[in-house]
């Protein structure tokens, strides 16, 4: 069975797995061989990667602090022994311990 890639369409079909590093070594090599002779596909790879980067930058989101507070309060009412504030937590908050070094509980 040949692993050679003859056409751009085949190259584009494999791009997702290629950039995630999940393509088999043989297919990755065949794709790179195709890229070495096909400027349009090189451009395609660049813009495919740029698409991910731009979207990640534009759409990244963090959980609002107020929502964390209301979730803690909600679970404090429904889960026995659930600390309602961080100071009541048996172990320190993971966010703060990450800064202050490892701490055994």
């Amino acid at each position: 069975m040949t692993t050679q890639i003859h056409h751009c369409k085949e190259c584009v079909d494999l791009l997702g797995e290629y950039i995630e590093g999940t393509l088999s070594p043989e297919r990755a090599k065949a794709l790179e061989d195709h890229l070495s002779t096909c400027p349009p596909c090189i451009t395609f790879v660049r813009t495919y990667r740029a698409t991910r980067k731009l979207c990640r930058h534009a759409l990244a989101t963090e959980m609002p602090k107020e929502l964390m507070t209301s979730l803690t309060s909600f679970l404090g009412k429904h889960v026995p022994g659930f600390p309602c504030t961080k100071s009541e937590t048996a172990a320190p908050s993971l966010a703060t311990t990450a800064d202050s070094g490892p701490k055994k509980v």
Partner: protein, 219 residues
């Protein structure tokens, strides 16, 4: 309704953690014995990623908040059934995804499953021989960094992503924006990993086309 019996995932060692904190497995065992503080640590550890999942699926911060409350409470109540055959996080994602789907169905905004829907997504154009057409190979990647902070580009991205079919959008956001693994996405959305990869790739191709149109228009 997705199956919550965690039999389809390989067991994964979750300990020890590099930050010195107890691993999920230890915390789950403590929580199963009634340690509320251990459950609180699990919540603290996983709430951000669960929030992103809920937000991406429902598209609403208010819904995401309710999904999160319901999912963690549900997880606490089902904790005695968790046997540790899957990662706790995967089990939790599945519970949250089910909660989000039920909420969407109640609002009649969701299909019965995230199964195949007929759709036409934009993508590159090829010649009959399989070569890229010139219009599909314009190189705007060099200008992407310059435009990164542009409000116009942000609006174009938001519109392009909003125009994707729901299930393609959810997979794309969870993977490329939020960084979940293909396996976790498949588990949460009750899809196969190949289906996740396929939707992800098609979503990226469609978004790439839209961004190409944006940059071509901005020359």
């Amino acid at each position: 309704m997705a199956d919550l019996n965690q039999t389809q995932r390989e067991p994964a060692p979750e300990e020890p953690r590099l930050d010195g904190q107890p691993g999920d497995r230890e915390l789950v065992e403590r929580a199963q014995q009634g340690d509320g503080a251990a459950f609180a640590m699990l919540v603290e550890r996983h709430q951000r990623q669960l929030y992103r999942l809920a937000l991406r699926m429902t598209g609403s911060e208010a819904d995401a908040q309710e999904v999160l409350q319901e999912a963690f409470l549900n997880a606490y109540q089902k904790l005695p059934l968790f046997r540790g055959e899957a990662q706790f996080s995967s089990w939790l994602y599945r519970i949250a995804a089910n909660s989000a789907l039920m909420r969407l169905r109640r609002k009649r905004r969701a299909p019965d499953t995230l199964a195949e829907q007929p759709l036409e997504l934009a993508g590159p154009r090829f010649s009959a021989e399989g070569y890229l057409e010139p219009a599909s190979s314009s190189d705007w990647s060099q200008r992407a960094d310059e435009k990164m902070m542009s409000g116009e580009l942000g609006a174009a991205i938001n519109k392009a992503v909003a125009d994707l079919p729901d299930d393609y959008r959810t997979v794309f956001l969870l993977k490329d924006v939020d960084g979940l693994s293909n396996e976790d996405i498949a588990n949460a959305l009750d899809l196969t990993v190949p289906a996740v990869k396929s939707r992800l790739h098609r979503a990226r191709l469609a978004l790439r086309e839209k961004l190409g149109e944006f940059f071509d228009g901005a020359k």
